[in-house]
Symmetry: C2
Subunit: 376 residues, 2 copies
């Protein structure tokens, strides 16, 4: 194998793959990046036991030659030192490997030799049998994931809750995340006429999907197999395992009625709850108390015996139902829920003592969040 | 006590002081910041057992009123929550405290109460009896400290070596740092006609001095007492303890003759040694081998059995003495030494087997570094 490449481009892609490479795998080869030099492109693969990303670098980008392959071939290079070295090299580099998997990296008067591994020993992706296949707008999918993924469970006690449920049903994709204290659910219109199907995708895989740089494509093609999901964009393919098990029925949790519903300015409320969380490190739950006063003011209070109290008043734009609120929430959860909302105004429906509150953007029914109050 | 202040200015200063506040002191009050509101200014003090910084905020800056003191007084506020809160408040804030040391922070509809401590309980700085006193250009002093401080010992085994020796002698300030494997020494011309005097200042205190922001003054006034050194700039005073003990005589370590002396491009050599350090995590000493070939080329090599080898050739601008080098150094030490040199060219004098090499900027005798070779 032998090729020359623009190092800035190469380093960016190797760094991206390095981040997902296993560092402590039983298979040492998984801490490497597979490099395949073909006649028409370079293909780099990195991954861990749950997730693989394959990046294709074409010979030419926007008419400019970025790669020249002198000899096709392949090799696996351990990513840690490789990526550190690349960052310190000039922009024109030549990489080659011989039959003994010795990798030679040349750049002007700088010559580095690294021990590589055989590409044939790199795990092969299983042949996947596609059940469903759908094309989705990449930017919209990214947004939907960001608006829900924070609510997945951080604890491994119920593995199914560490994933995001993606439900493909009648021209809709519904994403749901819950850790049983809160729930975030967002719908996206897509073109999907096949039989309804739902999968649970590890949140780590979706976090990588969201951070994919330079995928350069407007749409992403989703293929679903029995135990795997594949996201293909131009020059990038992400393979992820699915989480097996039965996702809880979250539909029954959603309150159908409310006692009090308020509408408020989203940004101001975010700033207010954020300030209320300042003393949060002092005790386990970050109790933020919400009280309505004078039928039109929301009082946000936290009280930490040792440190002090924070109290702030904000105007409510609209009150529906009973003009009385006195509830306590986990401020951190409340803040994360509000941060998902991009609209100027947010409506919060309080549904009675110890029942979850419903947070929605004003005038958008496709996004909904639930958050359980705290006992005080 | 009661005053209103521009929060952006106040937060910047409180954050700076918060960084040096003790977090785990036997005296809980040391994790606080002392606020004194006087008729003509606000004075903030923060510190730990070795170091105090006092910041003065005048009522007006560049003709603009930044502080208005409604009631003089003082209080100590625990810095951690205070600084987090301030960062989240709007720009106009009012701070007051009552006889019970309850601190009230108001900004529009946001009201925070924190428990303060009595300012009289804050440690008082001892009355210092000044032995010597000298005025130095602030920018030059900062530069001299940066060029030497990295060579102090990181181990507490010999406490005296964790400080920087500052020698005031006949119109010169000589700063010396050594950890016994390397030495960095830099002279600065100052106006000092008193009897020669030397002190050893903890490197942590000098690191804070270097990072002082917005001190806004061109010169710094240094006062030396028996067990303390005080740096006063406009609106900022830094008090530091001195390290007691006898600093080793480093003069005898400096080689007077050389076997081979080479001159090279500083930036290129830094980049080369930096690359050679890529495999450095693999073993304890980061052995970088320097060899002269063809009387005019320096070959920089590292060799890690498990990972690979890096080899690079750089042109030597000038060779004096015997045209032969074959020595091994700690690459990290070598790199730090080179980074102190701002001139375009650097000269390195090799003084024979197992004798330290001398690194100097070309054509500047005021700066010198020694670095011991490694046995291989």
């Amino acid at each position: 194998m032998k090729f020359t490449i623009k190092n800035s481009l190469f380093t960016a892609i190797v760094s991206e793959l390095h981040k997902i490479c296993s560092t402590k795998s039983l298979l040492p080869i998984l801490s490497g990046i597979k490099i395949e030099a073909n006649k028409d492109s370079l293909i780099l693969t990195g991954g861990n036991s749950d997730l693989f990303i394959e990046k294709r670098i074409p010979l030419h980008i926007n008419g400019e030659t970025v790669v020249e392959v002198q000899e096709v071939g392949n090799v696996v290079v351990l990513s840690r030192h490789f990526v550190t070295l690349l960052k310190k090299l000039p922009d024109e580099i030549e990489i080659s490997s011989d039959d003994m998997q010795k990798v030679l990296i040349k750049s002007g008067n700088i010559v580095t030799r690294m021990n590589g591994l055989r590409a044939v020993d790199y795990p092969k992706l299983p042949e996947i049998k596609i059940i469903h296949s759908v094309e989705v707008d990449f930017a919209s999918l990214t947004e939907v994931i960001k608006q829900t993924i924070f609510a997945v469970s951080k604890s491994e006690a119920k593995p199914i809750l560490t994933g995001l449920k993606m439900e493909f049903i009648k021209n809709k994709l519904i994403c749901t995340a819950t850790d049983s204290h809160r729930l975030s659910c967002r719908e996206l219109k897509i073109t999907f006429l096949e039989e309804a199907h739902s999968v649970v995708v590890p949140s780590k895989s979706l976090a990588e999907l969201v951070h994919l740089k330079g995928s350069g494509s407007a749409t992403v093609h989703i293929s679903i197999a029995d135990n795997m999901i594949v996201f293909s964009a131009e020059n990038t393919i992400l393979y992820s395992v699915l989480i097996e098990g039965k996702y809880p029925n979250t539909q029954t949790l959603i309150p159908t009625d409310f006692v009090t519903r308020i509408t408020m300015n989203t940004k101001e409320l975010i700033a207010g709850i954020d300030r209320a969380c300042v003393f949060s490190e002092e005790w386990k739950h970050n109790n933020v108390q919400l009280t309505m006063i004078d039928n039109s003011i929301l009082k946000i209070t936290t009280n930490s015996a040792g440190v002090g109290t924070i109290e702030e008043r904000q105007r409510i734009s609209k009150v529906e139902g009973l003009p009385a609120i006195d509830m306590t929430f986990d401020g951190r959860f409340f803040l994360e829920a509000l941060k998902g909302i991009q609209q100027e105004e947010v409506t919060i429906s309080f549904c009675g003592v110890m029942k979850p509150a419903v947070i929605r953007p004003e005038s958008d029914v496709s996004y909904m969040q639930l958050i359980s109050p705290l006992r005080t």
